[in-house]
Amino acid sequence: MWQIFHKLGSPKWFFGIASTLMPWLLVAGAALLMTGIVWGLVFAPQDYLQGNSYRIIFIHVPSAFLAQSVYIMMAVAALVTLVWRMKLADVFVTAVAPVGAVLTFLALFTGAVWGKPTWGTWWIWDARLTSMLILLFLYFGVMALGAAISDEKSSARAVAVLVLVGVVNIPIIKYSVEWWNTLHQPATFKLTEKPSMPAEMWVPLLLSVLGLYLIFGWLACLRMQTHILAREGRTRWVKELVQARGN
């Protein structure tokens, strides 16, 4: 058991696996995402309430979905870092945070642009938008702390503590923002997810969510490999690998 765990944690082993996995992730992810988007943009029927503006959903929902699950993944990795000191876990946290921040920003941006034709305003202090904004702040905090500590290992551990503190706070933040929202404005702008979304709409949506997940997986592998190369520069296998690339 421990052997497997340590093997899983070995950067060299991961590097190899990632290298074989990455082309598949990229090709499958891009194919799924493009299928989902083209289907959603061109073939899916118009929404009878919102018209064509709803087509933003095919990127908005995947971004928002990933933005949140990336933070959860980071929190799991952070826990593994602090408890078992697995090398790969802390590489994951630092490598992936900027991607999470970009996805959160995209979710906010597409949400705002979607809001203009739907609600007539770019921004409302709606519970979902507000908690997404705070999630973006959390990502910024993680990135800022990571950048401020020069030593990679201490940086990773400090970031892990922060991510965990953040993840404990996320449900509290979400709950309090919702409560605050009901206090301040009665639910006039409630965007209800229509329970019966026709299959022509949710299938492409599902495809693009899956596609973006895979693309994220590819990006995560790529960025983790970069961080490993930077960090393990002294080991023989990295030296050989780097030399091989140079020639």
Partner: protein, 241 residues
């Protein structure tokens, strides 16, 4: 070569109790703070000045101030706690007393808890005591002022406890002050929301028992979890120095 004489190895039971170690940390922090009273006064002055900015900067109308007053006071209190956090561990770090604190044969999170409590007594508590005066100046009504003070009383220890994590994480970094705010402000949002929300509900003469209980729950959660996170963060920061 090694001499045969041997010194007894002590067991941890031969140290003083954790409680008296906490007391020592607490009273030392109070003592040092009172030897430099200006540092104690600064957050309070900041608090008063930020509150003054709103009537001058937005509107001195009674209606606006009554509406926004609780929010203004809460934001000002939050900012002045934030301002004072940078000192929480920095002096101790620079003069080496923090190393000795970490090396005490005691559970570190309890010592950290004692430090956070001292920080609250030195910054949060004075803010709470000053709040009624400022509450009257922003035209809050009697009942609202009382509720405001109550929310501050429950909420400011949470600010100190959570802030201690940020202070420990940014220890010894360049531009730690700004970074600290970046890390901590998102975590302060729930306390702020419930603090002001409770006062608002009270001004609309709704019952606030539930909200106060929730704030109490925040406090309990912060008391139980934050010291562990701060202790872990302190160890990491010291490893890095």
């Amino acid at each position: 070569m090694a001499s045969e004489a041997k010194l007894p190895v002590r067991t941890p039971e031969e140290s003083v109790s954790a409680l008296s170690a906490m007391k020592a940390v607490f009273s030392r922090d109070l003592k040092t703070a009172f030897r430099q009273p200006q540092d104690l006064l600064n957050p309070l002055l900041f608090f008063v000045m930020v509150v003054t900015l709103f009537p001058l900067g937005v509107s001195p109308e009674v209606a606006f101030l009554r509406e926004a007053g609780s929010g203004i006071l809460w934001v000002a209190a939050l900012l002045s706690v934030l301002l004072s956090l940078d000192h929480l561990y920095r002096h101790d770090f620079n003069d080496g007393t923090l190393e000795q604190l970490v090396l005490q044969p005691q559970p570190l999170f309890l010592l950290v808890l004692a430090k956070s409590l001292a920080h609250w007594v030195l910054t949060g508590l004075p803010l709470v005591m000053l709040a009624p005066v400022l509450g009257v100046m922003v035209h809050l009504e009697g009942n609202s002022v009382a509720i405001l003070c109550l929310t501050l009383l429950i909420g400011t220890p949470v600010l100190s406890l959570i802030g201690s994590i940020g202070a420990a994480l940014t220890l010894g970094l360049r531009s730690a002050g700004v970074l600290l705010s970046l890390l901590i402000i998102p975590l302060y949002i729930p306390v702020l929301i419930f603090g002001t929300g409770t006062v608002m509900a009270a001004s609309e003469s709704a019952s606030v028992g539930g909200q106060l209980a929730l704030m109490g729950a925040f406090l309990v959660l912060a008391l139980t979890l934050a010291p562990f996170a701060s202790a872990a963060a302190l160890r990491i920061s010291l490893s890095n120095s």
